[in-house]
Subunit: 754 residues, 2 copies
């Protein structure tokens, strides 16, 4: 079965190395199991706390299992389709199986991670009664479980496929990547809609109309809101980063094979293995004293330790492994004076680590309360709603400029390192930069999932009326989690862009392969001087705008339904007086149904748009289309994430007693900002990450058919026509209000005009 | 002097045609004079009305003359620089002179047009006392004066330069285009900042704090607000469209000469002449009955008549002129069965007319009160500020998708028409599509300037307390003007994109010429598979975001100062009770100074960014940069224009008595939407039009130097370094609050914390 392992081209050291990588992947998973046992062994607190936690867990699982049921059939159909896309029998089987494996791994990361998060929350709440340090440790380690699952499963899948298929792994890896990508799209979009519909719905009725605090147990949407944090921020985010993790390894292996043979494939796997080890070390070290202030420092320290271990590991492995005795003399900064040594792949991974650190810094700068951008927004709350919004838009627009410049700099770094060589080398450099950037995935996901766990623990604390000191501990943890969660958004977007650029490079390499031309012959076809490339490029740039508009509207529609339901339940006097438990399940049910329904439109757009462009306007236009999507997707995603983050923290700043504090007009304006930012930063923005990856992946998979059918045949045209019609209906329908909303609105109008 | 006219290559018919074109250009200018005399001969109303009008006129002229003084030196320096950019002596002189001519023409269109607008407004107000039809006619014809100036001067400049320089006209035309472009940038950005700072400042204190109506004479910012409408919507918009008008003719002539020789140059001039005639006919026909409803119909009818005259004229001229006897047999749809006839240039101009009509329709759909998008935003006002903003963002995002698809379709149309031919033919097709699109410039500018004239007339009516019927007439006219003004925004953006694409094509053609390579050899250099092109592309895409952020912040800063001044004046009891006239001039002065000061940053960004990218990253990256700017500039500009338009009309819809009408919570939310939309739709969005053209123009002019200095020399690097440092300072400073704002804010904080 492990055909490669018997291949005489691989030295005994390489075979051992591959087994070691597999071992490290399993080590990562075992570490996750170890942490799970540790977390689950903690005290679960009082009966009341368990009840709340149980409600959240049931709601979250109800959502995910419904989602998995809904897409299981689609996954099976696609697996069958993929079987027919590959040529040779054993590749076809491999691709279909890898697709299933990719989907299942992605789903598992979300499902298991979320399940542990909803069990960790109550334990954090329980620990908060006695110790801040212990509460932080539990919350962070719960996050690390998801992080290690991502690391472990991502590495395991890639390594296994390579060990079985060797040179042909590329064809199979595409299936693996696509599986993860598709699941991530569904979980990001569906989860994003769920979480914001519940959040906005709960706040509009609870905070604004009824003037009760967040997480008040009388609010029927409270459980749904807490479920939403897990569904969106935990499962959705984990699947998203898992996807980038997979996609970068897939493209590094594709491009590595084309550029450097098997060393080009084994090196990224080794780098990844180093990353897993360094994440284990770094995350294990995160512990703090009893002071809230020390928490962020401990988390940053863990991050720094992991980064240093990674850098040392990369350099060591590169130094001993990257020997190409047949290569001519190389400049000193490449060979370090050692004959045949080629350290360039190491340097590109270091560029990736620098990119990750810079993006974290930039995101922190744009969204941290004490920094100028948030201060600029916070000051504007004094002059009302409109100036708050305008300043937030200005901050968001500008932040996306710096983010894209940093990414351009990283690509430029890879270019400089490989300047004067083959273009596929440069593409490999970009992919390795992505590998380097995601080497600290374990830490990043720990920081991200820490957010919803702390948020939920705080919610539980509020619902069961914990004592004051514990409440303070939980509030501090929540604030800390909000910051770490916001920071990781930048990495998620940045890595999506680098992953998409790598896929895009693979797309170009593939055109050459499929048309039997050299790379040099392909280059002019994709020139921006070609009208078709330019047209594709304009269309591609528009897609993220359409997609965002659709997801924003979807949140609005779903939130309207929640508002209606919560209002209806409040009419029951017993619920309002707190003597009767509200029907939490009904709200969770509405959220679940709506999120599923609203998923269809954006999902179809993501899959059909590249197919239509490819079949109607051909491969060159599709190339321009992909470039356009990457550009406008990145700009829009960062704009939305950072404007949203700035509004969020401006509100917190005002709530901390500035400009009149809670209840003042400035506070009202800051709430408007936060409410506007919510769907942008938690639904539309993050959903763009999987979008740009899915579209590149679909293009890569469809390319053989596009090339074969460039002349066009009736069948393809019928398929395209069907696609266009479906898409038009979907776009049209996405703008309709659902019948319930319209009914409800006409009732309001009736009342307000009376 | 008219060397071309003695050139034996030109037939006697062609020489006659060129003189006729010149004649038509002068006819257009004479028509403008005729209309001016007509408008100025109308009754100027009461003394009170004249006083207000005079104040507005003085303010507007103070602004423009200050602006012209400020940039006169810059223009002279640049003219001298341009003299050194060209090789041969007579070309160098020509380019410098053409640059001056372009600047002066652009400035004149703005200056004269605005001057007549501020004299027309009082006459419209006077006429409103007796007749709606008469008032509409005066307002519309005042607009037509600016329209005919644009048409006439644009055509005159292009034709004269061609008649003098013939084959070498290209080199000189670049100077002409750059002059217009630069002036347009300054007038658009400065005017945009002026108009919104005054508007927001007047409304924040007047409407929200003091609860007095718009245009209340006690408000010290009233005159500045009315001045702003003229400065921004009249002078800025006219200069912007004049620029597109120039740039498309410049690139059509460049590409036409390369593709078809002199017929390729003369044909676009003939088409333009037809456009001037058809605009005269169409605008002259605009007259209406006494009913307000008939007004829009009359304006649309005039537009349709002009379009039909143009179409007929294009076909006739094409049929008799576009004969290429040496060409081989052409397909029937090209030759219409007539040997040697090539109707393809005609078809591309018709694509342009179709594009103009579609964009008008789309803009109208997205911003008209009765259509679904505005209704969607208006409904959201019931649920508060945040949902109003969110829905507006969703509408804006989606609208830019359809706009870009229509533009892509037009480019695709030009591609299909010239499919299988030389790539420069396709580029010529795109340029001709721009010519066709702007053929109705006279009508478009009439519709646009009609807006501020009607708005000002309404303001005068309010300030002198006209009788009720006249006030109703003016309100109806104002509403009508708001609609026509909003519609033409779409054309301004669309034509900017088409003009930029044409310049971009000229840039590519120029690379070939300057490097001594064939077009085919250049194509691969600009492939998106090249890392440097991709990097340029990422950076270019980011520039419109940075630029918008800068202009939005500029409005905020300037508006703060106005608010402070108006508040200070209201503290004078005599002003508040209406017994003392406020110091209008002081507010006008602050607006003028601030608009000038705030212009520097965005202006430098527009000029320096392409130079830095070109010299540091070289011509290929600059190509990608230009493509990125066009894409994200277009998407952002339409998003801002249409979101702003939708919020504006949603407010009007609520004010018409829906959802509780004026004073309700829904109305407050709708005001927030409108206030957020104002700087987007009137400052940041429109400023992107000249931005994308200026950057393409700068790239085209700098290209010879970039090519010559690709290897880099110390001098160039020093210049680049200086540019980077300046730009960093500018960007940094653009984020600082001005000292006055900070002082004032700390005062507020002091009060609110006390």
């Amino acid at each position: 079965m492990f055909s490669v392992m018997a291949d005489p081209n691989f030295s005994i050291w390489e075979r051992t190395a591959l087994w070691s990588v597999l071992g490290v992947a399993i080590l990562g998973l075992l570490y996750a199991v170890f942490l799970s046992v540790e977390v689950l062994g903690k005290d679960q607190g009082t009966d009341a706390m368990r009840r709340v936690s149980r409600a959240i867990r049931i709601g979250a699982n109800a959502y995910l299992s419904r989602q998995f049921r809904a897409i299981a059939l689609l996954i099976l159909v696609l697996a069958a389709l993929l079987y027919f896309t590959a040529g040779e029998q054993h590749i076809a089987v491999g691709r279909a199986c890898a697709f299933l494996m990719g989907s299942i791994f992605s789903a598992s990361v979300g499902f298991i991670g979320m399940n542990l998060a909803v069990q960790g929350n109550v334990r954090v709440a329980a620990a908060s009664r006695t110790s801040f340090a212990e509460a932080l440790k539990i919350a962070y380690r719960t996050g690390t479980i998801t992080g290690m699952l991502t690391d472990g499963l991502g590495l395991l899948g890639g390594t296994l496929i390579f060990m079985v298929y060797g040179e042909q792994a590329y064809e199979v890896l595409l299936g693996f990547g696509f599986g993860g990508t598709l699941l991530a799209l569904f979980m990001r979009v569906g989860g994003g809609i769920y979480t914001k519909a519940a959040d906005v719905g709960a706040d509009l009725v609870g905070k604004l109309e009824r003037n009760i605090p967040e997480d008040d147990p009388r609010n029927a949407a409270t459980i749904a809101d807490n479920v939403g944090d897990n569904v969106g921020d935990c499962a959705g985010m984990a699947a998203d980063i898992f996807e980038s993790y997979e996609v970068t390894i897939v493209s590094a292996m594709i491009l590595g094979w084309a550029s450097f043979g098997h060393k080009g494939v084994i090196f990224p796997l080794l780098v990844r293995a180093v990353g897993v080890v360094s994440s284990i070390v770094g995350t294990y070290l995160v512990r703090t004293s009893e002071q809230a202030r020390a928490a962020m420092r401990a988390i940053h320290l863990g991050y720094a330790v992991s980064a240093l271990v990674s850098i040392a590991g990369f350099c060591l492995i590169g130094f001993y492994y990257l020997r190409f005795p047949e290569a001519g003399p190389l400049p000193g900064w490449v060979s370090l004076g050692v004959a045949g040594l080629d350290m360039r792949p190491v340097w590109t991974t270091l560029v990736g680590i620098a990119l990750a650190v810079s993006i974290n810094y930039l995101t922190d700068y744009c969204t941290a309360p004490e920094k100028p951008p948030v201060q600029f927004v916070a000051r504007a709350t004094q002059t009302g709603h409109a100036t708050t919004i305008i300043n937030g838009i200005a901050v968001g627009l500008e932040s996306s400029v710096w983010a894209i410049l940093v990414i351009a700099l990283a690509v430029f770094g890879s270019f400089l390192i490989y300047q004067g060589t083959n273009p596929t080398y440069i593409a490999y450099g970009v992919a390795m930069c992505g590998i380097g950037m995601l080497t600290l995935t374990g830490n990043n996901i720990s920081m991200d999932v820490f957010g919803p766990v702390a948020d939920n623990a705080n919610g539980i604390g509020e619902m069961v009326h914990l004592e004051k000191k514990a409440r303070q501990t939980l509030t501090d943890l929540d604030a800390c989690g909000n910051t770490t969660k916001a920071i990781t958004k930048g990495i998620a977007i940045g890595s999506a862009v680098i992953a998409a650029v790598s896929l895009f490079n693979a797309y170009i390499t593939d055109i050459a392969k499929l048309t039997g031309k050299t790379y040099g012959e392909i280059v002019p076809l994709l020139s921006i001087s070609e009208p078709m490339v330019f047209i594709g490029f304009l269309i591609g740039g528009a897609v993220p705008f359409l997609f965002s508009s659709m997801t924003i509207r979807a949140v609005g529609r779903a939130a309207f339904l929640i508002v209606q339901e919560v209002r209806a339940q409040f009419k029951d006097k017993a619920i309002w007086e707190g003597t009767k438990t509200p029907d939490y399940a009904r709200v969770v049910g509405i959220c679940t149904t709506e999120a599923q329904r609203e998923l269809i439109g954006p999902g179809l757009l993501a899959v059909l748009a590249p197919l239509i462009v490819g079949f109607v306007l051909h491969k060159e236009a599709l190339g321009g289309f992909l470039a356009g999507i990457i550009l406008s997707g990145q700009l829009l995603a960062v704009f939305m994430a950072n404007a949203g983050g700035a509004w969020d923290n401006a509100k917190k700043f005002v709530e901390d007693g500035h400009y009149g504090g809670k209840g003042s007009d400035a506070h009202k304006a800051s709430i408007t900002g936060d409410t506007v930012g919510d769907p942008l930063k938690d639904t539309a923005g993050p959903a763009l990450n999987p979008l740009i990856k899915v579209m590149n992946m679909v293009a890569l998979l469809a390319l053989p058919f596009i090339v074969r059918h460039e002349e066009g045949n009736l069948f393809i045209w019928l398929v395209v026509l069907a696609g266009v019609v479906t898409l038009s209906i979907v776009v049209y329908r996405s703008k309709q209000e659902s019948p319930e909303v319209l009914k409800w609105q006409s009732a309001i109008e009736h009342v307000s005009s009376a």
